[in-house]
């Protein structure tokens, strides 16, 4: 018997227009010198990361949109089991910011209604090319009641905080529902990654 190595499991999604740096948010210590050609060719499906919050060991399973960046291709099956969503735009790309509202609508239509959301304005290290001010990010976040952070995957600014804040929000909600004894695990649907095998018959 494998001993229990964690308390909770949270499934998180990264969504947003292509090119906003979702992949590099997962790719924190990005360094060209070490980029593996084989892995970068085939691409990453998901990652497992471990964080400790309030004495609980939490496994985060983090999914990228894997190229399905258009609103109409991201539907219910993609959101199934998601407990948290990072909504990412690029502060140097006006259009990716305008599309945040469309993404929020897409989440409302397809995701679980109590999913925790967070808006990230990525690439905040590139000051010269900035097209979206921090104030505008703050304003849209306030309007929709969603927490907001500006991040830089490249400079490693606020990336850990973003994941910790989102996980904390889920933990708080979870604790609110289950006062006292929390169940060992929150099971998420782990099947998305191997649909090819399961669709055989």
């Amino acid at each position: 018997m494998a001993k229990k190595t964690y308390d909770l499991l949270f499934k998180l999604l990264l969504i947003g227009d292509s090119g906003v740096g979702k992949t590099s948010i997962l790719f924190r210590f990005s360094d060209d010198a070490f980029t593996s050609t084989f892995i970068s060719t085939i691409g990453i499906d998901f990652k497992i990361k471990t964080v400790e919050l309030r004495g609980k060991k939490i496994k985060l399973q983090i999914w990228d949109t894997a190229g399905q960046e258009r609103f109409h291709t991201i539907t219910t099956s993609y959101y199934r089991g998601a407990m948290g969503i990072m909504l990412v735009y690029d502060v140097t790309d006006e259009r990716s910011f305008e599309n945040i509202v469309k993404w929020l609508r897409n989440i409302d239509e397809h995701a679980n209604e109590d999913v925790e959301k967070m808006i990230l304005g990525n690439k905040c290290d590139i000051d010269g090319k900035r097209a979206v001010s921090k104030d505008r990010g703050d304003a849209i976040a306030r309007e929709y009641g969603v927490p907001f952070l500006e991040t830089s995957a490249k400079a490693n600014t606020n990336i850990d905080k973003a994941f910790n804040d989102l996980a904390t929000a889920i933990l708080d909600k979870f604790a609110g529902k289950e006062p006292g004894d929390a169940p060992d695990r929150v099971m998420v649907d782990p099947r998305r990654g191997d649909t090819s095998r399961r669709s055989c018959c």
Partner: protein, 122 residues
């Protein structure tokens, strides 16, 4: 060089009751992949694509490896990345710097195998 069925002194040094004695970390960054005593040492052949290749090299070289840490449940990992599926296999990478493949995931049995030679014992 290595005896087919034997366990080399290098492996012996990192084993405790057949499990990894120390934590496993990435060779290229400080990311912790596995806690101590979670992976079971197994010997089986698997050809894992090389982690790096020459600039002008087109075909991915594969290395025949036979010493792995077996991890039964993917959520026993501390930090790890799973690649998209290629020929029925998902390759494992460092979750932070994405160096890899450091091992592979069997889609049928759900078991995971980390190549002993592609991680650091620390």
């Amino acid at each position: 060089m290595t005896a087919p069925a034997g366990i080399s002194p290098e492996i012996e040094a990192v084993l405790e009751n057949g499990l990894n004695k120390t934590a496993l970390t990435c060779l290229h960054c400080p990311s912790r992949i596995l806690n101590p005593s979670v992976g079971t040492f197994v010997q089986q052949e698997f050809a894992l694509p090389a982690m790096t290749k020459q600039k002008n090299q087109i075909i991915d070289e594969k290395h025949e490896l036979r010493e792995f840490w077996k991890v039964k449940d993917m959520f026993q990992f501390e930090n790890v990345g799973f690649s998209n599926t290629v020929d029925g296999v998902k390759y494992l990478t460092c979750a932070d710097c994405e160096m890899g493949p450091i091992g592979w995931h069997d889609l049928v049995t759900k078991e995971n195998f980390i190549a002993v030679s592609r991680v650091r014992n620390s």
